[in-house]
Amino acid sequence: MVSVDTISWYLLVSTVMIIFGTVRLLLVRDLLARLIALDVTGIGVLLALVALAARSESSDPVLQALVITGLVIAVAFTGLGAVLIRRIEGLREDGGGGDRS
């Protein structure tokens, strides 16, 4: 059992992560920075869920399971995003890439 104050504190931390991750995502141009901002936002959301899970006697298994699911999804989209960034920058290094679509 984690104290209520601790949970509120982590909820606050998660809120900051979510919001500033989003703001950064929308403002920055560098693709990798955007991807990382997205991941920060994702971790923020998951942190909130875990903090909620910690309210129960023994940490709530369902919410924990949801967080694990969320983590895997985060890896999935980061992976796809990273590969896309690599390809796009590969094109740019080639000098604008070909004209084929």
Binding site: F20, G21, L47, Q64, I68, L80
Partner: protein
């Protein structure tokens, strides 16, 4: 005592978050993110969520950050890195608006959070009552593979299809034996830096330990913390290490990558189909053989996750023609 620790941890998380968001260099950004992963894993532990901490350590910090760091290392200085998208006239406007909006939103949201009267989940009791029917003892594994098996199935589908997607962005659509064979073959023009002999040696030594750890996580999952996802991440890390140590895995890639990738989902769906054949709902398993079903599904799922994560890593290297 605990309050001070939590306070410090929270502040540290915030600082590292700031660093990973605002740094100008890609390397700093991704390294900060790696540190963030470690810190957050500790937070999970503080919040008594061992499983999540394990998953974070293995998947989040281990693989996800590794992907990002790898990306940062391979193309460290793209055009315009770290710069804001600024309009020509008012450079400061966007960041300022973002900052103000972010702060206001944070205050409002946090105020609501604090005010709200939380209600404890209604699934606590039924979860404990029905856990024996699932054939596993660890509640989180029970949730993942019995109570909410459908979510897990769709999620493994997501991972499989992400792997399919990144393979599709590789040579020959990446979806034939010949193409997986060629994955991640570095071109002369973008060759990797030579691998120090010590690393190669260390990788070979570490791999068996990692495999052992992965398998332990897998089989411990039914009774204790751990499970398919954590285990899969560790095993994938082992494969990646081997690859980095320039161990030739091409035969494995060509023959086994795709079947492993697919196997978990296929077996999961087929196991879910047993229920309907017996007149039960989808994804239901009789208590007598539930454990067997869960075990089979979990093992294959682990293999699938391993293959999927490894494929993500392999596809990071651009095929020739697209550097």
């Amino acid at each position: 005592m605990s309050t001070v620790l939590d306070l410090g941890l929270g502040v540290a998380v915030l600082i590292v978050t700031g660093l990973s968001l605002l740094a100008r260099s890609r390397l700093v950004m991704s390294m900060s993110f790696l540190v963030l992963g470690v810190l957050v894993a500790i937070v999970w532990l503080r919040l008594s969520s061992l499983d999540v901490a394990l998953a974070e350590a293995a998947i989040g910090t281990g693989l996800l950050s590794a992907l990002l760091v790898w990306l940062a290392v391979r193309s460290p200085l793209p055009p315009g890195a770290g710069r804001m998208e600024t309009s020509h006239r008012l450079r400061w406007l966007r960041p300022a608006v973002g900052l103000v909006a972010g702060t206001v939103l944070t205050v409002v949201t946090a105020a609501v959070w604090v005010r709200a009267d939380h209600r404890l989940p209604a699934w606590g009791e039924p979860a404990q009552a029905q856990l024996p029917d699932t054939g596993v003892e660890h509640p989180i594994t029970g949730v993942l593979l019995a109570f909410r098996a459908y979510d897990t199935l769709l999620e493994s589908g997501i991972l499989m299809l992400t792997a399919a997607a990144v393979l599709a962005l590789s040579r020959r659509g990446g979806l034939s034996a010949g193409s997986t064979h060629q994955l991640s073959i570095h071109q002369a023009s973008a060759a990797l830096p030579p691998v120090p002999a010590t690393l190669s040696w260390a990788a070979r030594m570490l791999t068996p330990a990692l495999v052992l750890l992965g398998l332990w996580l897998l089989f411990a999952g039914s009774t204790d913390s751990g499970g398919a996802f954590q285990s899969g991440a560790v095993l994938a890390a082992a494969l990646i290490l081997l690859h980095c140590a320039q161990v030739d895995l091409r035969v494995f890639q060509a023959r086994w990558l795709r079947p492993l990738l697919v196997g978990g989902v296929v077996v999961f769906v087929l196991a879910g189909l047993v229920g309907p054949l017996l007149g039960l709902p989808w994804l239901s398993w009789e208590p007598e053989w539930a454990f067997a079903a869960v075990l089979v599904v979990e093992v294959l799922l682990t293999a699938g996750i391993t293959a999927g994560l490894y494929a993500l890593f392999l596809a990071l290297e651009n095929p020739e023609g697209v550097r």
